[in-house]
Symmetry: C2
Subunit: 210 residues, 2 copies
Amino acid sequence: MTLPIQNTQDMTALFRLGYGLYVVTSHDGTKDNGLIVNTVMQITDSPKRVAVAINKANYSHDVIKASGKLCVNCLDVTAPFSVFEHFGFQSGRDVNKFEDCDPYRTDSGLIVLPKYTNAYLSLSVAQYVDLGTHGMFICDVVEAGVLSDKESMTYAYYHANVKPKPQPKEEQAKGWVCKICGYVYEGDPLPEDFICPWCKHGADDFEPLK
Amino acid sequence: MTLPIQNTQDMTALFRLGYGLYVVTSHDGTKDNGLIVNTVMQITDSPKRVAVAINKANYSHDVIKASGKLCVNCLDVTAPFSVFEHFGFQSGRDVNKFEDCDPYRTDSGLIVLPKYTNAYLSLSVAQYVDLGTHGMFICDVVEAGVLSDKESMTYAYYHANVKPKPQPKEEQAKGWVCKICGYVYEGDPLPEDFICPWCKHGADDFEPLK
């Protein structure tokens, strides 16, 4: 049978892949850092190992590469958009994302978020795979805990229920919205070399605010 | 603050990671093969690359390693349990999983499932990472298509809505059920060295049918 579609180079097919959403915490020797990622998966069962891919442009990438330690905090469905803004929309190079937070700690000293998470995995890096723009950390699970029975946040749930919907036209300034993560650039036109500060996709993945 | 839990070696925390579910198709030179996996994620955007981890015990692992080609079929929420049984519960070494199927084909000749899928990604292997029991294929996206607007099947949705619930006691034979994937071993006791034919987890991950 012939494929029932015309466009066989439709890269939006990639959005059909399923993910959870996580805050990855790390420590640079002086302060804590946290980052939103979706690219976490268990890859072997014996030993229990997890792969975490992180954009090299993120400060956490360098911190984890140097320290060999990270903690994956599994977000649950109660996490509000502000959590994504807080950890996704500013860099640990510039701000301390935990200044007003009284968090839990793993045995290895990494932050476990006290709210909006249903489990954590404290990881030790066993192998690093260079993926070009990203690095992948292949990690042993050294500590793991279940914090609540709330459902895990999925990427699909985030897009349907957490990411703000476009405002009615009257109330709204001109701008561009990232089709990938929902980040809004206020201003027009969008610079051609603009990189989304949150998900690191380029100007091609932005569309005008409607 | 101290962690509010006693058990900090609770590996069920790994079940809080989020995944989609996919049928990965490949071709061994003679016949088509298909396999259920959950371990697929996009890892870079330029170039568009996807990582797929597959257990070495699966025939598809060897086929993909030799051919360098695979197709990820994204299952949607309409996929019934029989799809998981068909692709997960028998080996392509023994049966032709597409004998009665009239499927679509990618340009590279791989099967695109005509039902229960909302998108496909035809991939070419760029790099192989040996992960011990599993192999990870780092792949370029060479073709991609969207087949429907149905929602993607997530691992959580599968567990809540697709995996059969235990039967009432009267109707049921003695047996063991895999806590990971729902595979049922009919018989008692379960052999100590039993490996789940579907998800490859060991006897430790089985519990008695209730």
